[in-house]
C-alpha cells in the first residue's frame, strides 16, 4: 500500500507540470497582457511598453515559463502583477474561505445526496422514489447564481433568517489562525463569532451542494438498488437482521465504492461552482480572486491558483483510491 501511494505521488509531478503548461499557454493565447490591461486613461504606448519590459512580458514564452517554473518549485509564484503582493500571500488569504465553503458543501452534498439516494432506492418504484428523483433533477438543472440569489431573497430578505452574503458580521472581532471563520471561532472559543460564521455559511454551502448532491443521489440510488438485490441481503433479512442494519450496514457499504468515486470527482465541480457562489454571496475566496486575476491578465496569480487547485484535486482522488481499500478489503494495491 505504501509503495502504491509513493508511486501515485510521483506520478503527480508530470501531471502537474502538464497542468502548468496548459494554463501558461492558455493565458498567453488570450489577447492582451497585464501591461495592456492598464485601463487607466492618459496612458501612452510608451508606458505600456515600459511596463511590459519590466514584467518580462516581452520575453519569449519559454523564457517567461522558465521564470515561472523555477519559482514554483520553491513555492514562489512571484508577485501579483495587479496588486504587487506576493502571490502566495494573496492565495493564502483567499484559499481557507474556499476550502471551508467546499468542505461544508461537500458534507451537505453527501448527507443530502446519500440520504435521498438511499430513500429512493428503498422506496424504488413508489411515489417517494419519483418525488426524490424529481427533486434531484431540479437540483442538477438550476444554476448556482440563480439558486443563490433566490435563497438570499427568500431566506435572507423576506424571512430574515440568514444574513445577505459576507462571511462574518462586521461587528465581530475574530482572531485569524487558519483563515476559516468556523474553525477559528472554535479554536478561539468565540461563541458569537461561531454563530455568525455558521449563519453566513448555511446558504452558500447549501447552494453549492445541490449539484453534487444530485450526482451523489443518482449514483447512490443505482448502486443501492443493485446491492439490495444481492443474495447476501436476502440472507441477512432471513437471519432476522433489523432493517436499519440491512440497509446501512450491509447494503450501503458495498454500494459505496462507485459513490465514493463520484464524491471525489465532485470536488472539481465544487471548486468551479465556488467561483459563482463566492460571487453571489460575497465570500473572499479563490473563486473571486481567479476571476479578477484573469480579467487583469494577472498570470502569476492565475497560474498559482490553478496549480494549487490541480494539486488538491489530485490529492483528493488519491484519498478516494485509498478509501476503496478500506471499503472493500478484496481490493489490493500491491503490484
Amino acid at each position: 500500500m505504501a509503495q502504491y501511494i509513493a508511486r501515485r505521488l510521483l506520478q503527480t509531478i508530470p501531471l502537474l507540470l502538464g497542468v502548468t503548461i496548459v494554463v501558461f499557454l492558455g493565458m498567453h493565447v488570450i489577447p492582451g497582457d497585464a501591461a495592456s490591461a492598464m485601463a487607466g486613461q492618459g496612458v501612452t504606448a510608451a508606458e505600456i511598453q515600459h511596463a511590459r519590459h519590466e514584467l518580462h512580458l516581452d520575453q519569449p514564452l519559454p523564457v517567461q515559463y522558465w521564470y515561472f517554473l523555477t519559482g514554483a518549485v520553491h513555492f514562489d509564484f512571484g508577485s501579483s502583477l495587479r496588486t504587487h503582493d506576493s502571490v502566495m500571500t494573496d492565495i493564502g488569504q483567499a484559499l481557507p474561505t474556499t476550502i471551508q465553503l467546499t468542505i461544508a458543501a461537500l458534507i451537505l452534498a453527501i448527507i443530502i445526496g446519500m440520504g435521498v439516494g438511499v430513500l429512493a432506492a428503498t422506496q424504488r418504484g413508489k411515489i417517494t422514489d419519483t418525488l426524490a428523483m424529481s427533486i434531484v433533477l431540479v437540483g442538477v438543472s438550476m444554476p448556482v447564481f440563480w439558486t443563490g440569489v433566490l435563497l438570499l431573497i427568500y431566506f435572507g430578505a423576506t424571512l430574515g433568517w440568514f444574513p445577505i452574503g459576507g462571511s462574518l458580521d462586521n461587528s465581530i472581532n475574530l482572531h485569524t489562525i487558519t483563515g476559516m471563520t468556523v474553525v477559528d471561532s472554535i479554536l478561539t472559543g468565540n461563541l458569537p463569532a461561531l454563530k455568525s460564521a455558521l449563519s453566513h455559511l448555511v446558504l452558500p454551502a447549501f447552494t453549492l451542494s445541490l449539484f453534487p448532491a444530485a450526482g451523489i443521489a443518482r449514483m447512490t440510488r443505482t448502486t443501492m438498488v443493485e446491492a439490495l438485490r444481492q443474495d447476501y441481503i436476502r440472507t441477512a433479512r432471513a437471519k432476522g437482521l433489523g432493517r436499519l442494519s440491512v440497509v446501512w450496514k450491509h447494503a450501503l457499504r458495498n454500494a459505496l465504492i462507485p459513490v465514493v468515486t463520484v464524491i471525489g470527482l465532485q470536488l472539481g465541480l465544487l471548486l468551479s461552482g465556488a467561483v459563482l457562489t463566492e460571487s453571489v454571496f460575497a465570500l473572499p475566496g479563490i473563486g473571486q480572486l481567479i476571476v479578477t486575476s484573469i480579467q487583469a491578465r494577472d498570470y502569476p496569480v492565475v497560474q498559482g491558483i490553478v496549480l494549487i487547485a490541480a494539486s488538491l484535486f489530485v490529492l483528493v482522488n488519491l484519498l478516494v483510491d485509498i478509501t476503496y481499500a478500506y471499503l472493500n478489503p478484496r481490493i489490493q494495491y500491491n503490484s
Binding site: 497585464a34 487607466g40 486613461q41 492618459g42 511596463a51 519590466e54 444574513p163 433489523g242 432493517r243 463566492e278
Partner: protein
Amino acid sequence: MLRRATLTLFLIASLAVGTQWLPSTVAHATRPAAASTLTVDMAADPVGLDPEAVEDNSSGFVMSTVYDELVEYKPGTTNVGPGLATSWKITNGGKTYTFNLRHGVTFQDGTPYNAAAQVLVFKRQLDPKYPNYVMNEPNVQSYIPFTFGQPSFVKSYKATGKYTFQVQLKQPFAPFLASLAMVWEAVVSPTAVTKYGWKGILNHPVGTGPYQFVSWQKNNKVVLKAFPHYWGPKPRVQNLIFQVVPEGSTRVLQVEQGQAQIDADVTTQDYQSALHNSKVKIYTQPGETINGVGMTVNVKPFNNKLVRQALNYAVNRSALATGLFKGLAQPMNSFLPPPIWSWSKSIKGYPYNVAKAKKLLKEAGYPHGFSTTLLAYTNPRGYDPNPEGLALAVQQELKAIGVKVTIKNIDFTSYLNTIRSPKNKGMYLDGWSGDNGDPDDFLYEMFASAMIPVGNTNHLRDAKLDSLLNQARHAQKQSTRVRLYHRAQVVLNDDAPWIMGDYVKQVRLASPSVRGFRLNPAQMFFNMQNVSLGS
C-alpha cells in the same frame, strides 16, 4: 415503520439544528446597523491605496476618504476650490503657481503638513533620483504623466516659506490645477512613504483626510475610522467600511436589509427595481461621461466623412436614452458632457433623420450600404452600463439604412488591447469618463493626433482641431478657453469620429437613513465627513 421513524428523526434533527440559530439570526437581520458604522458596498476590491500608483475606481472610492488634495472640487461640481491650499496665485503668464497652505494640518501618523512635506509629495512623483520615486517599480498605473506631462512640463517646485509652495512650469498648462484636485493626486504622508516604502503605502495609506486606515482584508473589506485630528468638520460617522460584494442584486439586498448603507456600483437592472422600492433611496447626477461607437478614420468606408455623418443621423439617441438606459441618460450633442464647463446645449448634434442618413450614404458612394464588424465588450462600464445592448441597438438602427453590422463580443481587457493597438481598424464601442473636469481631458486625450493610437483610437488627424486644442491647453484666460473649446466641439462634430451615443447619469443607492450624502461628477467619495446616519 422503521423507515418512517428514521426519516422523521432525520427531519426533526435538521429542524433542531436549524432553529437553534434562528433567534440570533433574526435578531441580527432586523437589528439596525449601529449608528456609528456606515458600510459602502462596491463591486470589486481596490487594487491598492496609494493614489500615485493605482487608477481603478474601487481604490479611488476608499482613498477619497483617507486623503486630501492640494486643491479640491467644490462639492457636487468639477470647479476647483481650496483644499490643503487655502488660496493660490497664478502669475508669470500662467507659468508660476504659488499656493498658500493650510495651517494646523497633520497627517494621520502625526507628521505635520507644510510646504516641506508638499515638496516631498511632488518629489515622489517627479524626481527619478529620489529613493521613493513611485515610478521605480514596474506596472505602476499612474496619472503622473497625465497631470505633469510626458516629459514633465514642471520646471521646478519648492517651499518658499513654511506654508508657501511654488511650482514653475516650462509653459502654461491650463488643466494643471484641475488635475491636482483628482484623488489620483492626493497628498500622502512622506514619513509613511519612507517608513513603508511605496509598496507599503498600497496597503497602509496615510493621509490628512477625515478617515484613517484600520485594516484591509483582501477581496473582503477595508475598515476605516474617523480621524480625531482631522482639520475639517469632525466626521459624523465613527466607522466607515468599504465592502466587496461582486453581485449587483446582493448589494441592493444588503442596503435594503441594513447590512450596508450605500451601494456604490448600481447596474441598470438594479436601478429599475429600485424605482419601486421604498427601502432604498436613489441618488443620480449627470456624469462626466460619453459613450458611442468609434470608427477608425484610416480605413474604408470610415475614411469618408459623409459615411460617418450618415451613420450619426441613423441612430435615435433619445430612444437609446429611454429604452436602453432606462431614462438614466440623455442624447449626446457634443464630445463634452454637460457637467464640463464649455459644454453648450446650443452645439448642434445629429438629430435622428433616416432619410438624410440614406442621402449622405448615397452621396458618399454607398447607395446600398455596406457590411462591417463592430467590436463590443461584455463588462459594464460607468459610461456604458449596457455595452451589449448598445451594440445591438446600433446594429438594428444601421440595418435600416442598409449597413449590415456583425457584432464581435470580447472581454474588456482584450477589447482594450485591440483598440489601443496601431492596427486597430473598423467600428468599436467607445466611451470615456472624465477625471479632472477639464475639457482637455476629453478632447485632447481622445482626438488630438499626438495621442494616436492609445488615447486617440480613431487615428483622427485634423490639423485645425489640433491647433485649437493646443491653443486651449496653453491659454490663460478661461473665456479664451471657452471660446476655443466651443469651436473645437463644432469641428469635432463635423469630423464625426464616433456615432455619438448618450450621456449616462451616475447612480448610487442608499438607505433612507443616510443624510448629507452627495454625489460628485468625479464619482469619488469626497466629503464623507458630512454624512450621518439618522433613524
